[in-house]
Structure formats: C-alpha cells, structure tokens
C-alpha cells in the first residue's frame, strides 16, 4: 500500500441523463489526472448522469458492475489509477429498486460500492422518492489506502464517518451534489468530520446549473487536523491535485486523541433516545 497518495479532485458539470457525454468528460479528466501524477481520481455524486434526474432516473440506472463501470474499469487499468464516481445503481434482483451509489474502481478491476444511507427528502431534494437507502458502510483495503465512502447528506450524520474510522478507514471520500445555499454547512461539516475522527477527508462536489440549482463546487482535500490541503474553484469545472501522507495520521491521533477518548456506553444511550424521539 502506498504511504503517500496523489489525489485528483475532479469537480465536473454534467449533462442530465447523457451518460455518453459525461463518460467522455470523465475519461478526459482521468487522463489529465494521471498526467498530473494522480493515483486516485474522484468525481461527484451521480456524476455519470447529473443529479436532478427526476423520472429519468429509471432509464439511467444500471447494475454495478455494469456497462459504465466496466468501461471505466478499462480506463482505470489503462491509466493505472483508482477511480471513485457516483451513479444510479439498479438492483440485479428487482429492477424498480434503485440506489444512489458511489463506486470504487482500481487498476485491478472493480473494488466495491457504497449505497447512500441518508437520502435527503426535504426542500428541493427528493431522493427517497426514487432511491432505497443502503445498509452498509464498508471499508475497502486498496493500494491507495483504507478507503471509506460516503455521499453528500451522509456527512450531516457523524456516525457514518465515525463507524468507517472505527473500521479502520484512513481516507473518507465524500462525493456530493450540494447546491449553493448549503455551502456553509458542508464547509463546516467536512472539516469537523476530519478533525473529530482524525482522518483524511476528500470532498468532491458537483458544479453547473441543473433545474435552477447552482452547484457550488469548492471540492477540497482535508487533513486529519482540519487543514485544507487543496481546494478547487467555486462554481466552475476544476481539477485539483493534493497529496496525503498516511504517516500524518499517527501524529494527529496522538495530538488530538479522539478515538482513544471515545465513550462506548454513550452509544447505547443514543440508540435508546433516538428510538423514543
């Protein structure tokens, strides 16, 4: 496993429902990322199709692994790079069951996937109408580190990143499609999740305008002490690089020993309180 990893944050704007166009854009970005020395390139939530699909979600869904991930796996092999992207997943067992999924591919092939657990269904968001929530938070041991995947609104729930960290994740990859009015929330919470868990966090947000929603970009790579390693532009397509060194985890864990100081007995009480909210 690499001790130092070069990460490319690729915040792209997408054409709604146009997988061919979006895939081509991703391929160009992957090539560029590789030229910049990236070992891992990350795309936003639902980058394969755009976010505001509404009923187009049904015709955009595909199994994972499936045609698009197979195609991108070939690119991962050719470019010798790890890839994370968001897409609509269709269940192999029930075609009407869809997930908002983050996929991890490596030069060796398909690694795994994460199905979004917290589906926002308020304000302009309507994810529960279309998607089934996921039930698992896996950690993937790869050549670029132990990776935990979350998606957008998951970051509002500290237990997601906490659990991934307790399972051994060193780098949390949060892909997102956040519209402009929510920027402050995400800029606060992404840093908080990194600090409270002493973990690296890569946040990659969508850009562009879909259905009147302006996605703000501002992707960033955050160190376990909360400092910003690299930051992409606001409101425009961008590709930025950042390097992380897993040796920093030990130093930060010692300086801010949140994991050592966790109190397990509180979690049972949390569960009890939540069940009676």
């Amino acid at each position: 496993m690499l001790e130092e990893v070069n990460i490319a944050l690729s915040q792209i704007s997408c054409r709604i429902g146009d997988k061919k166009y979006n895939l081509n854009k991703m391929k160009e970005q992957i090539k560029q990322a590789r030229e910049n020395g990236a070992n891992l390139v990350i795309f936003p939530e639902l980058a394969l199709t755009g976010y505001t699909l509404r009923d187009l979600v049904y015709e955009s869904a595909e199994p994972i692994p499936g045609p698009s991930t197979n195609l991108l796996t070939e690119v991962a092999k050719k470019e010798n790079i790890h890839i994370v992207l968001g897409m609509v997943e269709q269940s192999e067992k029930a075609s009407g069951v869809l997930y908002n999924t983050s996929v991890l591919l490596s030069p060796k092939g398909f690694v795994g996937k994460y199905q979004k657990m917290y589906l926002p269904t308020h304000s302009v968001f309507e994810e529960k109408r279309y998607f089934r929530p996921g039930y698992n938070l896996p950690v993937f041991e790869t050549a670029v580190g132990k990776l935990g995947l979350i998606i957008c609104y998951d970051v509002f729930f500290p237990e997601t990143v906490r659990l991934l960290r307790l399972k051994g994740a060193q780098l949390i990859i949060c892909i997102s499609a956040s519209p402009a009015v929510r920027r402050k929330f995400f800029e606060t919470l992404t840093v908080a999740r990194a600090i409270e868990n002493t973990v690296f966090l890569a946040y990659v947000n969508l850009v562009g305008i879909e259905n009147g929603l302006q996605f703000w970009g501002g992707s960033r790579l955050i160190a376990p002490n909360g400092s910003i390693i690299s930051q992409a532009k606001y409101d425009d397509d961008d590709l930025v690089m950042g390097k992380i060194s897993y040796a920093d985890l030990k130093r930060t864990e010692t300086f801010v020993p949140t994991l050592r100081d966790l109190r397990p007995e509180l979690f049972a009480s949390l569960k009890e309180q939540l069940e009676n909210l």
Binding site: R15, I16, G17, D18, G50, T52, L53, R54, D55, L56, A180, G208, I209, E210, N211, G212, Q214, D235
Partner: protein
C-alpha cells in the same frame, strides 16, 4: 430560544453573489437551449429594467432585445425615459411598439366587452403584450425572459398567462425590496430603483395601493410565511394587525392556480403536472 427577527436586515442580500448567480443562470440557460438571446418586456419599472440590465451584463447587449409595449390609456413618458436610460447604459436594444390598435381591435371584436370592467381590460393588455413578446421570440429564435419578482409571484399579483408568461424568470426568488437593492448594486439610477411599482393595467394603477400594504411590510410578512412563522408571530413582530397577515397568507395560498400548469384529474399512469416528473433538459 432565538426568534427570527423580522426586520430589514433579513432581506439584505450578498449582492455580488446574487448578481453572479443570476448572470450565470441566464447565460447557462441560453447556452443549453441554443437560443440566440432573450426578448423582454421593458416597462421602465424596477423589475423589468433590472432584468434587462442583468441579461445584458450576462449575455452582452446584442443578445438582449427589450420591447416597450405602451398603450394610450396608461402611456407614461417617465417610464419611457427610464427604459431608454437603462438600455443606453447597459447597451441592449430597445424597440417601442404601441399596442393600442391591437387592443382596440380586440375590444371591438369582443361581444361581451364592458368598458366599466377595468380588470378584464387590464388583463387583456398584459396578454396582448405576451403575444408580442412570444412572436418576437419565435421570429428571432430567442426565449422570453420574464421579470416577475417573488412578492408579486407569491401574492399572485400578475395576470395569468400575461406578464408572468416567460421561459425563465431570473428575479422570481427575490422580494421586491431585494430587487431594489440589486438594482442599485448593478448601477440602475435610484429614481428607477425606488420608483413606486405599477402594473399599469389602468391609469393611476399603483401596486401598493391595490395590495393595501407597503412592500417593505409585505416582504417581511412573506418572508415570515416562507420561514414557517405563524400569522400571530408575524403580526406581533411587525406591529400590524393579524387580519392583514392572515389576508396575505390566504391570498398567497389561494393564488397557487396562477403559478402552476392547469389542474387536471388523474386518469393515467403518469400525469402531466402531477407525477410525470422530468428535469429541465435543454441540450
């Protein structure tokens, strides 16, 4: 508990950010739709002048055509002067067409026309303007850019299929007093930015008189309703009667029919306007 305080501060905007977002929105829509530009109705009031100016800043003046569509009953030299000032300053084209002959022709051909029914005639004027705007848009392969603001839209204070008819309405999420802030910010003359609003459906027609409340108060009442405040809380904070707030709330709710596609009854598998839900895809 911290209460939401209803005062002018809550309506203050991050003006550079709002300006950038609106310009980006207009440009993005035009690029994706493949339209050659926008056509706007320009009355000389703050909403239409601000929209036209922002469109020109976003697209360049050559892609913005303002149409002044006066008619003889309500023609106002100050408004015409103001529209000219803004067109010159922001560099967009402005054409003036007197719609009086069309209005007369319509009126003369309507067996049920009643000269005492000024509302029906006023709405007819707004709908005639809509016809002109869409004719120009079709001919020039452009889209119609509306200038409705949030105060009017929430109150249903517009002519159905008339002045609110448009392909995009960039100011529709800004209250009237916020549009005035934005107008000053982008450099509209204060006499335009602060001018009392008028739908000009009949002579001497003033919005605040007809609505029965100043925009400074109306906007705060609407802001409170937007933020789920009770009518009692709003009335108490603004020192206005609960009746006034309730009347505004009722009007906001009962005018939903003006803001949507016509209601139908569900018969099919997926129904337009109900559960047939598609995104805007303009490519």
């Amino acid at each position: 508990m911290i209460t939401l305080e209803l005062n002018a501060t809550v309506l203050k905007l991050d003006l550079p950010s709002v300006e950038a977002k609106i310009k980006r929105f207009i440009k993005d829509y035009i690029e994706k739709s493949g339209a050659k530009g926008v056509v706007l109705g320009v009355s000389g009031g703050v909403d239409s002048c601000t929209t036209a100016a922002l469109a020109a800043l976003s697209l360049g003046g050559d892609k913005v055509l303002g149409l002044m569509l006066p008619e003889e009953e309500t023609i106002n030299k100050t408004d015409i002067h103001h529209a000219g000032l803004v067109a010159k300053k922001f560099g967009f084209n402005l054409e003036t067409i007197d719609i009086s002959p069309t209005l007369r022709a319509c009126v003369n051909s309507l067996p049920v026309y009643d000269k005492n029914d000024k509302l029906s005639k006023g709405n007819l004027k707004a709908r005639i303007r809509m016809v002109y705007l869409y004719y120009y848009a079709n001919r020039l392969k452009r889209i119609v850019c509306g200038s409705s603001d949030k105060s009017e839209t929430m109150m249903g204070y517009f002519t159905k299929w008339g002045d609110a008819a448009a392909d995009i309405s960039p100011l529709m999420d800004l209250y009237k007093t916020q549009v005035r802030q934005l107008a000053i910010h982008i450099g509209l003359p204060p006499e335009i930015a602060k001018k009392p609003s008028s739908p000009a459906l009949w002579p001497g027609h003033l919005a605040e008189e007809e609505l029965g409340v100043k925009y400074e108060t109306l906007d705060l009442i609407l802001y409170g309703l937007e933020h789920f405040m009770t009518t009692e809380e709003i009335a108490h904070q603004l020192s206005v009667s609960t009746q006034l707030v309730e009347d505004i709330k009722r009007r906001w709710q009962t005018m939903e029919h003006k803001r949507r596609l016509p209601l139908t009854t569900k018969l099919g598998y997926r129904t337009v306007g109900a559960d047939f839900r598609l995104p805007y895809t303009t490519q």
